[in-house]
């Protein structure tokens, strides 16, 4: 803890270590799991990674929740020669904003995912074939409940914090709602309490691209096969919603591929941005399952806290955690206003909540930004001492 006499934020040396080599693990829940839809799975598996050590009180855990296309590998490397570390490696590690010297960090691939956790590409033991679209419908609540079972399995008695951006932010909020005594801090970034019509619309275009691809075959396709064209298009389109006009223009402008002649009258790739998007689509199909994409986008669409609990006030009524919501000025998928409304609803409900807004031009993906300002905010929130919430709500 910082010295209570110290009133200015402590600036720490920037030098920080790396999580280093990590290995994913599998948690298999043997008992039946009933989804919100009422459908039942005889058991499920979550693939996860942990960094740092669980303390003696078993209450220094931070649960990191990933976004739509993310996975459990959020920090460190799987092999010494890995080209890229985990997706939030800039934030998580010894001495970093999420300091693994202090905290036990857990991140799991969501239920319905395709990177080791049970999902539509898992084999149905009854048929010996992938579930496909016979897999139960997944909601954000199902993802959260499954992760709670993992945390129980790991012996975590209370979450120091749960944090995430985008869909990860939705999970973080739900943790505080569903497990109020268990969740001490919530950090939700670039997220929403209610998937908007525009966000649903983008998801639907992605799903249509997949389902209109003949290779989708009603979700029945072999591993490694399936609607590769449709999934790539879905990813290309979605990727545009994660960035911004300004950031794309800065990165690509109207620059042309060197292979494209000045004014060639063809439909081959001409502009660098086209090549970039095609590359995004191609790499995505090699790592993501089309049916999982359908399931997870559907889970996002269903997310509406006010509808699920009667009102936003009712949803947040049980929350005991201190919350920090962060919006990003250029995020047009989950705009600042939607983030601000989460914090204000928590405050109206008499909860301890903060709202911070970072000016960036990188769009929705800004939450993954390498930014000392953001790191300082997150570190300050995670490392402040917890005082039990005084609830003055009527």
């Amino acid at each position: 803890m910082t010295d209570p006499e110290e009133h200015e934020p402590v600036s720490r040396p920037l030098a920080s270590g790396e999580v280093g080599l990590v290995a994913p693990q599998d948690f298999t829940c043997p008992g039946p799991f009933t989804f919100k839809s009422g459908q039942v799975l005889p058991g499920f598996t979550l693939r996860y990674e942990t960094y740092g050590q669980l303390n003696a009180a078993r209450d220094n855990a931070i649960l990191v929740c990933h976004a739509l296309s993310g996975d459990h590998h959020c920090a460190g490397v799987h092999a010494a020669d890995d080209r890229k570390p985990g997706w939030w490696n800039n934030l998580i590690g010894p001495g970093k904003a999420v300091d693994t010297r202090r905290f036990f960090v857990v991140c799991a691939n969501v239920l319905g995912g395709c990177v080791g956790s049970s999902g539509p590409s898992s084999v149905n033991p009854e048929t010996g074939r992938p579930y496909g679209i016979s897999f139960p419908f997944v909601t954000i609540l199902d993802m959260v409940r499954a992760q709670k079972l993992l945390l129980d399995h790991l012996g975590v008695t209370a979450l120091h914090a749960t944090l995430g951006g985008s869909m990860g932010g939705m999970q973080a909020l739900l943790f505080a709602i569903e497990f109020p005594a268990y969740t001490r801090r919530v950090l939700a970034m670039a997220t929403t309490a209610r998937e908007s019509a525009q966000a649903i619309a983008f998801n639907e275009v992605g799903r249509q691209a997949i389902m209109q691809d003949p290779d989708w075959n009603h979700g029945d396709y072999p591993k490694g096969g399936g609607p590769r064209v449709g999934l790539a298009i879905a990813r290309m389109m979605a990727h545009i919603t994660y960035v911004s006009d300004a950031s794309m223009d800065r990165k690509f402008g109207r620059r042309k591929k060197t292979t494209a002649d000045g004014e060639s009258y063809t439909f081959d790739v001409q502009f660098e941005v086209e090549g970039y998007l095609r590359h995004q689509g191609q790499t995505f199909i090699n790592r993501f399952d089309a049916n999982s994409y359908l399931y997870i986008t559907r889970a996002l669409d269903q997310f509406d806290l006010a509808h699920a609990y009667g009102s936003l006030a009712a949803a947040f009524a049980p929350v005991q955690a201190e919350s920090l919501v962060v919006g990003f000025t250029s995020d047009w998928l989950f705009p600042p206003e939607q983030n601000r409304q989460i914090a204000l609803a928590l405050l109206r409900a008499g909860k301890r909540a903060s709202y911070a807004e970072l000016a960036t031009d990188l769009g929705h993906d800004s939450f993954l930004l390498e930014s000392e300002e953001l790191y300082t905010l997150i570190r300050g929130f995670l490392e402040r001492s917890h005082t039990p919430a005084v609830d003055f709500s009527i």
Binding site: T2, H7, E8, P9, E322, L324, R340, A343, L344, L347, R348, G350, R352, A353, S354, Y355, A356, E357, L358, A359, E373, T376, L377, R379, G380, F381, E383, R384, S385, T387, V390, F392
Partner: protein
């Protein structure tokens, strides 16, 4: 403590005396959260601060406070009538775009509103303007006009006139001399350097 730091903390103690322990307090323009931190520690208030600046919000969050980054009027509009026991507007009122709008909205969401400001009618400020013919610069207002935020140089007479015109009740007032410590009982608009009011509708 340097004289300036002492000046900056003087209204903390007075506001602290006015605040009911355990009450719900909103601080408009909370800066790095020093006042709220003091009130949380001494009065165990349920505190919310509002500020526009990310770095100041970061500092408040690190102190364990609830801070909302954004426009104070837009923030207040999101709360029901009398949601807060007290709204505080300490050394902010002179920089507001719409002071009347903010004060009236604060009196809607708060049962009481505390306003503290530097009295620009203080004789030294008058002499400064009269003799030098320049923008007031002193230990509190240190910057030149071109490096300053736009400010309404409000005086005690101006403020009390405003409250009378709007039918706002002055439930408490404290005028302090140029040292911001000694009570000023005679001709405060001329001899008080700092003014604190508690308002109610």
């Amino acid at each position: 403590m340097t004289p300036l730091v002492e000046k900056r903390t003087v209204d903390m103690q007075i506001i602290g005396e006015w605040v009911t322990p355990g009450s719900r307090v909103l601080d408009l323009g909370c800066g790095r959260g020093a006042l709220l931190d003091y009130l949380v520690q001494t009065k165990e208030v349920a505190a919310l601060g509002v500020d526009l600046d990310f770095a100041r919000v970061t500092a408040g969050v690190a102190r364990g406070l609830s801070i909302y980054q954004g426009d104070m009027t837009a923030c207040m509009r999101q709360f029901p009538d009398r949601h807060f026991d007290r709204v505080i507007c300490s050394r902010t009122v002179q920089e507001l775009d719409d002071p009347a709008g903010v004060i009236l909205e604060a009196l809607r969401v708060g049962r009481a509103l505390t306003v503290g400001f530097v009295n620009h009618g203080f004789w030294k400020n008058r002499v400064d303007g009269l003799l030098r013919g320049r923008k007031v610069r002193n230990a509190v207002y240190t910057t030149e006009w071109f490096e300053s935020r736009p400010a309404n140089p409000v005086t005690i007479a101006d403020f009390e006139h405003f409250c009378a015109a709007k039918g706002i009740t002055l439930t408490r007032r404290v005028h302090l001399r140029g040292d911001w410590r000694t009570p000023c009982r005679v001709w405060p608009n001329l001899f008080a350097g700092y003014a604190l009011y508690d308002l109610a509708r």
